[in-house]
């Protein structure tokens, strides 16, 4: 945290001039720092946010690079069935060496996940792929819809604003989870076959669509409020005076002012969507079997909560750590991007 002395060292520091720059500028070579450079400097000082960012990068690496490596090293896949990994009608416990179908010994790091002997560790790793794919893609789609709707509503006002605002309120008033379940149950089966040439697992597109439908309204409201205020600013007046079209004003003059907000809200939304995906999968309207997601792993683990409680712990921890990391990163970014912040 910046000291009081540092803050007062540059009493007239305006937006765009780094406060810490004052310390380096003792020789008189004051260098103006850009908005993003300042934000980056502030972000670097927030150790929790940096740690969260590192955790997220690690999770992404583990999910998309580590998982195939783990399959190669362990010699079995996340959906492979192994009867030997079932002991006394219970999934094998953590760090079990069991025989595979060929009679070779293979390691189950976190034990088996169910009564067909699938590997919990690999399923948590592959579940991370699904959770991240769903959460990030749904966030991007949700933000895209939200920003477009919010910008149009805020910029044009009048009937457009009324329409968008009422639509937002209508969607917000829906019993979200029930509606998402209904949507997934009705159209989900048809959408499950879309995998975009194998890029996504079956079911991911359904989840993305269902979650996106309920992710756009908060960004829309936030963006609308900001645009309402920005459209009255002098630079917008100036752009109009020089003949800038509405589209150009929105794209070149308003959107750059919204980037910070969008990034911050985006990271927070990813966390929310990870939880939403888990909730939907937990309720059985997520990914179809046999593919794993953290939600359906957690859902299956409930059956063993009295006998193998750790089966709830692994996907639960994964959800907790990832959602927490995205939340903390979002908070850190918000502090870093906020021009009134005084790190």
């Amino acid at each position: 945290m910046a000291s009081h002395q540092e803050r007062t060292a540059l009493p007239g520091a305006a937006v765009g001039v780094g406060t810490t720059g004052a310390i380096e500028a003792d020789a008189g070579d004051v260098r103006a720092r850009g908005y993003w450079e300042q934000a980056w400097r502030r972000f670097r000082r927030d150790r929790i946010a940096v740690l969260s960012g590192i955790v997220i990068i690690l999770i992404v690496l583990v999910a998309f690079i580590g998982a195939p490596i783990a399959v190669h090293v362990l010699g079995h896949g996340p959906n492979d069935i192994n009867e030997n990994a079932i002991i006394n009608y219970q999934p094998a416990g953590p760090w079990s060496h069991v025989q595979d179908a060929n009679g070779n010994s293979t390691l189950y790091v976190l034990g088996a996940s169910d009564l067909v002997g699938r590997d919990e560790f690999l399923r948590v790793l592959y579940g991370a792929q699904v959770s991240l794919e769903v959460a990030v893609t749904a966030t991007i789609v949700g933000l895209l819809i939200g920003v477009i709707m919010g910008t149009l509503a805020g910029f044009y006002g009048g009937l457009t604003d009324t329409l968008v605002s009422r639509m937002t309120e209508i969607v917000m008033a829906f019993p979200l989870l029930l509606f998402a379940i209904a949507l997934a149950s009705t159209v989900g089966d048809r959408l499950n076959s879309y995998t975009f040439f194998g890029l996504f697992a079956p079911g991911v597109v359904t989840l993305v669509m269902v979650i996106s439908v309920f992710s756009w309204y908060y960004p829309a409201r936030i963006v609308r409020a900001q645009v309402l205020s920005l459209r009255e600013k002098e630079f917008v007046e100036a752009a109009r005076m020089v003949g800038g079209s509405n589209y150009r004003i929105m794209r070149s003059h308003l959107l750059p002012h919204l980037v910070g907000t969008i990034i911050v809200y985006g990271t927070l939304l990813v966390a929310t969507n990870i939880l939403f995906e888990a909730a939907l999968s937990y309720l059985g309207v997520g990914l179809p079997p046999p593919n794993a997601s953290w939600g359906n792993l957690l859902s299956d683990a409930v059956n063993y909560y009295t006998t193998q409680p750790w089966l709830m712990v692994w996907p639960g921890l994964a959800i907790l750590i990832t959602a927490l990391a995205f939340n903390l990163l979002g908070d850190g970014l918000r502090d870093a991007i906020d021009p009134r912040s005084t790190l």
């Binding site: 067909v116 009295t306 006998t307 939340n327 908070d331």
Partner: protein
Amino acid sequence: MRRPGLWLAVGALTAGIVLLGAAGCGSSSGGNNSVASQAPGGQSVVPHVNGGTLKAAFHGDIDFIDPALAYYQSSWQVEYATCVKLLNYPDKSGDAGKVLTPEAASALPTVSSDGKTYTFTVPAGKYKFNTGEPVTAATFQHAIERDLSPKQASYFGATFLTDIQGATGYKGLPAHVSGITVSGDKLTFKLTQPDAGFLAKIATPFACAIPKNTPVNSKGVQSIAGAGPYYIANWVQHRSLLLKRNPNYNGPRPHYLNEIDFTQMTLDKNQGTLELKNGQLDYCPDCVAFSQSFQLNQEFGPDGSSTKQTGNQRFFVTPAAIISYFALNTARPAFKNPLVREAVNWAIDRPAIEKPYGYGYGTPGDKILPPALPGSQFEKSVYPITSPTAQDISKAKALMKQSGVKTPMTVIEYTTAGDPSVAEGDAVLTANLAKIGIKVKQKAFTRAVQFQAEGVKGVAMDIANEGWIEDYPDPYDFMNILLSGDNIPKTGGNNFSYFNVPKYNQQMDHANTLSGNARYQAYGSIATDMMKNNPPWAPWLYTNNLDFFGPNVGCTVDTPSYIMDLATMCLRK
């Protein structure tokens, strides 16, 4: 607000861990020291209280309390305790519980020499409803005519009673069916053709005595008097069910308890198991969580640690006349060729499919008739009931090759959603059939929707993951109902393999005219021939009933037709 998510998450995690610990630490109260003699399917009578309330719950709810409509296993269990029928099964387990004995009728009926006329004598007032109304011959006439009334929409009427003269084309109450007549205490049924299974049909809960003023109602009545040992005192749909001892019951059936109080109708199995273990509940049918059955057996089974200590066996595994099978849709290109269906039967790993259902769920098997059903003894096993060997897989592959079908081929399996055991069993099936070039894609539905969807003629389904519980202990109920080509309606069918082979249709119709051992022998040999040469199914499991009781429960009898006998249950002293 800064980082509310962090504290919420940490708080929730802590609460979760605490609850988990609390759940795991639930102790099992020991019960008393009296030693009960134990028998398969239950305990014989132990020193018990005459009276008291049995604290009970259901996991899977009941569908109706109206006997014309009720068709859940749990509903029939309730009706067995609350109904009086012309003939009934004794409150006994094993083979003794399969013998039809007169109940409201004074004796078994007289049957005409052509086998088409059955005459019962029903002494008026031998049984009375809890309201005081006597049960008479006319009571049964009304009950069965109500079943046959088209507006009542009873599955029983439409399926089992069509052989009664005048049943087809019957317009409904208050008119009478020409083939059902009452004269004093005589009740006569005239059939259009001989049916050796008629007595078994008339002994199902559909033919339960109901008051003569019970209206026709396709949605089912919400309250109904009972003439059995107990009656339904209160039913709040999906909420609760209260049975009370029938004050007017003078029959021979046991009735020790004052009340049986089902306070929950959809209790989670894990929760139910814990509550039973701790004695918060006395009984919950179908409530044993698959993940806990092994431990329950270790602790409370016949040789369990707690059983040895207290002498009170609380966990029972009883074979039931229930079959689990994959119906292979013979009307679809994938399974039109019998060789492909044979290949499936050679390739599936029955024990591995069973494993996800937990300890004691059933016995892997390949026969159409489960061993608990008469006739099964005459059906021969054809396919591997252990995990298939390399030779079995080779044989399956050879059959596929011989069939000439193009592989790999994709088939659609209709299955039940929301049950991890089913999903895992399906995963094993998928892996098994992949070895012979069949790729299985699952379409999961809620159970009721699945059943309806599969029964629509022409449905784009290749495999149905199905099960069948006996309506009554007779092979007709499995073979003619599930595999006769005469039983393929446009909607609402049960013949999910759409199996229609005239040779077998005729053989099954003929078998139904036989009685006694000849009947069972005939059905057994038809089933063997079918499975060997033209298998409509890939049967994989004969299911058991799993029963777990609270420490205070005694006098338990698992009957062949109605699972645990509520009328027999008592509370230990």
